[in-house]
Symmetry: C2
Subunit: 339 residues, 2 copies
């Protein structure tokens, strides 16, 4: 391992669950190979399957393998994954963070299982009731953070307020925004607008040591009305998936229009391709990497279940940034200020 | 009034709140003038302001005016609008439906006030606890219905199940779908995924005399996974506004890419304009008209607060269709079957 003398320059050690995700282990290993100069990687999973892949991608012997024979099914129920989880690739990768063998963990596997195991093995930061999934999304004027993107579907108002705190620390650390604007998703701008849960959560957020700007409506989210968009995990997940789906629908409608149009429109579309590609790059999920599970005592990055090698590469880079910028420590210190 | 002998051919009488909306009364009156051959219109509002507008748009004396001096502020609280509401343009328009003077009412004014007054003056259909806002949205393969789009932010599960029933009757009547697929918005396909409210509402929907297909996720909504998308009014409103905002953001990003690109891309964009216009037409809010308040004993159409004349025109046409197709009666008869 390339451990330098200066801890600031020491390569971040990232444990990657090689067996989790729709395209595991092939795309996971390929993504790790791509990221091998950005971090010290530890591939956790079935050695017999990982070794040939490393050889195929021209990185035989370059990445350490931590053998784990079992893996967790994508549809396994979170409650059933805890028993014997240390023998699984996901459980083994999380264990490396717990015992100091790694600085961060990345998995594209079952996110419910990831959350459940991490919650029990790493536990939450003092003052945080529940971890939340923080997704970085591309807004009109730059990236913003959405949380909770799906960890907690039934929330207490004070948990939602804690999401605001965590999101603020995260945006400062990862997006480099000095005083992130934190907004809560609601159905109107006025403070009285919203359901009972949101109105109460907003009251809690008023008292938090962050820049809380109040309610933001659905149409303001992608216009960067806030740097941190707070919602319960149900609403947050609907927002995340709806925006993914809608972007695809619009692109699909555009394709259909072009393919049913005459040659002049088709020529126009060809000429526009470079601009389209740049835009696609801007809004591509892959470039925004994995989502961090905030609130845990350790850096945990959830990659998309359908993650390809580029998404895995981005997730590893997200893990490196989160560890380097001390997201976990910043959340802890913000909670100290708040209490 | 053009009242024929055959009630099926008799013009539908639509009361329009001339004073409600950001661009009232100018755009409302202009929209009514545009729609005057599609329905028998009754413009409710300040005669002194409406008459000159009718003259300006070349329709002096062609549309009946029902004088109402007061109007309701866009930001008035629903609880405060009931007292003396019969003197307002919105209250007067609703009153016309109650006393049989009109078949339907259209307003682009304060939607909370619309709902509150209609609830008290018209009341709900037997078996319906709360009215819901049904919005017709453009999916990838055609229109679908979303409800509740914002009337009830705190819902009981059985209300949400009633929304499914109402939406099914509406989709059959207005979209002409024989057996509309009804789905509930959730965070996963499996029945066990969702928050407590959604899981319980899905259980109620299973027992309803409709084609309930279970959970649909955010990314499936605009892919027409369901003809009727059911959610509580908080989630529904976020979906409605987010999709509006995101479509605008994507178009804006595209414009920015083109304007910062070289001459070839710019030429391409020019050549593509016709296809772009057709797509814009497909997804334009205006072409889909107003949203119906379902569950009331009367046809009530909410137009967008920012409605221009085209949107008002579409809302009047939506009112005519809803009345002609007997949406209110169909909901009532579906409830008879269900009990």
């Amino acid at each position: 391992m390339s451990v330098g003398s200066d801890p600031g320059l020491r390569a971040v050690r990232v444990a990657v669950d090689a067996m989790g995700g729709d395209y595991a282990p092939e795309e996971i290993v390929a993504g790790a190979v791509q990221a091998r100069h950005d971090a010290t990687l530890l591939l956790v999973g079935d050695r017999a399957r990982i070794e040939p892949l490393l050889a195929r991608y021209g990185a035989a012997g370059e990445i350490e393998i931590i053998h784990a024979l079992e893996d967790i099914a994508m549809d396994a129920h979170p409650a059933q994954v805890l028993r014997g989880c240390e023998r699984t690739s996901l459980g083994g990768a999380i264990e490396l963070v717990r015992n100091g063998g790694a600085d961060a963990v990345v998995s594209a596997g079952n996110s419910g299982a990831f959350l459940a195991i991490a919650l029990v093995r790493l536990r939450t930061i003092a003052g945080i009731a529940r971890p939340a999934i923080a997704a970085v999304l591309p807004g009109k004027h730059g990236p913003f953070v959405l949380l909770d993107a799906g960890a907690n579907v039934d929330c207490k108002p004070e948990w939602i307020a804690q999401f605001g705190l965590m999101g603020s620390a995260y945006a400062r650390a990862v997006l480099g925004i000095a005083e992130p604007k934190v907004g809560i998703v609601s159905v109107g701008e006025e403070r009285a607008k919203g359901n009972a849960q949101v109105i109460e959560a907003a009251r809690c957020l008023d008292a938090a040591p962050i820049r809380f700007i109040g309610n933001i409506e659905g149409d303001e989210i992608f216009a960067n009305a806030a740097d941190v968009v707070v919602a319960d995990g149900f609403v947050g997940n609907v927002i995340l998936k709806l925006s993914e789906g809608l972007a695809q629908t619009i692109v699909g409608l555009m394709r259909a229009e072009v393919s049913s149009a005459g040659p002049i429109v088709k020529l126009g579309a060809c000429l526009m391709l470079p601009a389209m590609r740049r835009m696609k790059q801007k809004i591509a999920y892959e470039t925004y990497g994995g989502a961090q599970l905030l609130g845990l005592r350790g850096t945990c990055i959830v990659a998309h279940g359908r993650a390809n090698r580029d998404a895995v590469y981005s997730a590893v880079r997200a893990a490196v940034t989160a560890h380097r910028e001390g997201v976990v420590e910043r959340i802890a210190s913000l909670l100290d200020v708040g209490t």
